[in-house]
Structure formats: C-alpha cells, structure tokens
C-alpha cells in the first residue's frame, strides 16, 4: 500500500512541482496551487505509472490527494 503511495507521490511531485512533504492525504489540490490542467496532467501521469484508465467523469469531486489516490488504487 505504502509502496503505491510512494509511486503516487513521485508522480504528484513531478507534475505539480511541489515538495514531497506536501503530498499528504488531506491536502487539497487548491492548496497545492494545482489548476484543472494540472489535475489532468497528474491523472495522465498516474494512468501511465499504474497502467490504469481514468474517465473524465470520475474526476468530478476529486479535490484532495487522498481522493485521487483512492481513485487510482480502486482500479488496481
């Protein structure tokens, strides 16, 4: 589980240009200065990293790191 979160963190750090320490479950994308384009970019990176597919509609309401992580792991 934590191994997956490490991989998730790496994608987030790469795409969002933030510090590793900022990637915590209840951090909102807003607080990380991530706009909708950032979120799309992050999801694309996560799709590649975890070899999953995320549809546009699934991103609705995903406003925190934790929610995004849950979305991805649910597909594994």
């Amino acid at each position: 589980m934590s191994d997956n979160f490490d991989r998730f963190k790496k994608c987030a750090v790469d795409v969002l240009s933030v510090e590793d320490s900022q990637i915590v479950a209840d951090a909102t994308f807003e607080s990380l200065d991530a706009d909708s384009l950032d979120l799309v970019e992050l999801v694309m990176a996560l799709e590649e990293e975890f070899d999953v597919n995320v549809e546009e509609e699934e991103l609705e309401g995903v406003s925190t790191i934790g929610a995004a992580f849950d979305l991805i792991t649910a597909k594994l």
């Binding site: 706009d35 384009l37 970019e41 694309m44």
Partner: protein, 236 residues
C-alpha cells in the same frame, strides 16, 4: 537558436513541404505526415504515414515521431483537402469529409501532441487556415467553414494551454501558387487575383516564413492571433 522537433501535417507538397524544408534548412528536426507516407524531395525529413481523419493513425504517427525524433515541440497543422461545389449541389459527404480532414483532423493531432508540450512547458501550434475562412468563398462552403473553425479551435487551445507556455496561432494564406490552387478554375483564380492589392499570387515559402516566425522564440508573446498572408486580400 534552439533546435526544435517540428511536425508538419500534410507536409508532402505545397505549403506543408515548403514549411518543412524551411525548418529543416534552419537546423530543426522535422517530421511530416502524409496519407501516402511519401513525399517528393524530402531529404533529411522524416516522413510518416498518417490519415488525420483516423485517431488511431494520428496517435501511431505521433508515437513514431516521438520515438525517432523526440517530443513534438512545434506543430504546423496544415493537412487539408478541398471538395468544392456549390452548396445546392453539395452532398453530405463532401461537407463532412472536408470538416473531418481540415478541422477535426487538426483537433486530433493537437490533442495528441499537446501532452508532450505541456510536460516540456514549451510549445508552438500554428494552424493553417485560409482567407476563405475569414471572408468565405462561393463554391467552398465546406472548406471555408473548416478553415474558419480552425480560428475558434486555435483560440480555445491558446487559452487552455497558455499557462504551459504553449502558443497557438493561425496563419491564413491568400492565393498561393501550389497544386491546390491549380485545382480551382481559371475564373476562380483570376477572381481571387483581382482582389489582391499586391496583384500577384503568393509563394509557398512566404507562408513558410510566417509560420517559422510564429514558431520562434521571438513570437513568444503572440498567441490566439490570426495572421493573414494574402497580399492584402482580406483587409476589407
């Protein structure tokens, strides 16, 4: 000057080929796509088979270019067709085919290449429209609609991706001495020429020069514009 990876769709002839050659001569890494997968006189340029009306074909072509040359940094969306005819006699397919190739095709390619541009935080997209897209043209309702559509597409992409240092602009050529122009009737060509203040046809390389500028570092503050290169035809 930083050497960029440049993709010119429909680069097998006409404006596309002139543009590809110009970028290549300037030292950039250039790929062109063509339905046939072949281009005359394209030394040093990577030619990739691609049908812009087919998403899978577009994705495969861009992937091949990424593998062989690297991330596409400059897109010249030039692939396009005509299927002229007066509106009353124009069938659904003639209208749809031209929209699909010229407008939707540009969308497909842009959507695929923008990912790499976003990651690299640098990109240039130049969409080749036409004076017909600005002022319309009898017998070219489909072509004009598709070329006008590129303006809305380019501006939307310009706004969506500005934060990633990606600019999107339109070049609108007037009558240019190419095969496509020779497909018009003599009357149509003369009619166009008679309303060109500079009183001559343009050369493909003159369009290529405008595109080269918009793709350059110098044009970094220009986005969402429409640049007619038309001898003054569309100034009204």
């Amino acid at each position: 000057m930083t050497a960029r990876v440049v993709l010119v769709t429909g680069g097998n002839r006409g404006i596309g080929l002139a543009t590809a050659k110009r970028f290549h001569a300037a030292g950039h890494k250039v790929a062109v796509t063509a339905r046939s997968g072949a281009a005359d006189d394209a030394e040093g340029i990577l030619v990739v088979k691609c049908d812009v009306t087919d998403t899978d074909s577009v994705n495969a072509a861009v992937e091949e270019i990424e593998e062989k040359l690297g991330t596409v940094e400059v897109l010249v969306s030039n692939a396009g067709i005509t299927k002229d005819g007066l509106t009353l006699k124009m069938k659904d397919e003639a209208f749809e085919d031209v929209i699909d190739a010229n407008l939707t095709g540009s969308f497909r390619v842009a959507r695929r290449v923008v990912k790499g541009m976003m990651r690299g935080r640098w990109g240039r997209m130049v969409f080749i429209s036409s004076v017909a897209g600005i002022g319309g043209n009898p017998g070219q309702a489909n072509y004009s609609a598709s070329k006008a559509g590129l303006i809305g597409l380019s501006k939307s992409l310009a706004k969506e991706f500005a934060s990633r240092n990606i600019t999107c602009n339109v070049v609108a050529p007037g009558p240019i001495e190419t095969d496509m122009l020779m497909e018009l009737t003599d009357d149509q060509r003369n009619a166009m020429l008679s309303v060109v203040p500079l009183n001559r046809l343009g050369q493909a390389d003159e369009i290529a020069a405008a595109i080269e500028f918009l793709a350059s570092e110098n044009a970094g503050y220009i986005t969402g514009t429409v640049l007619p290169v038309d001898g003054g035809l569309s100034m009204g």
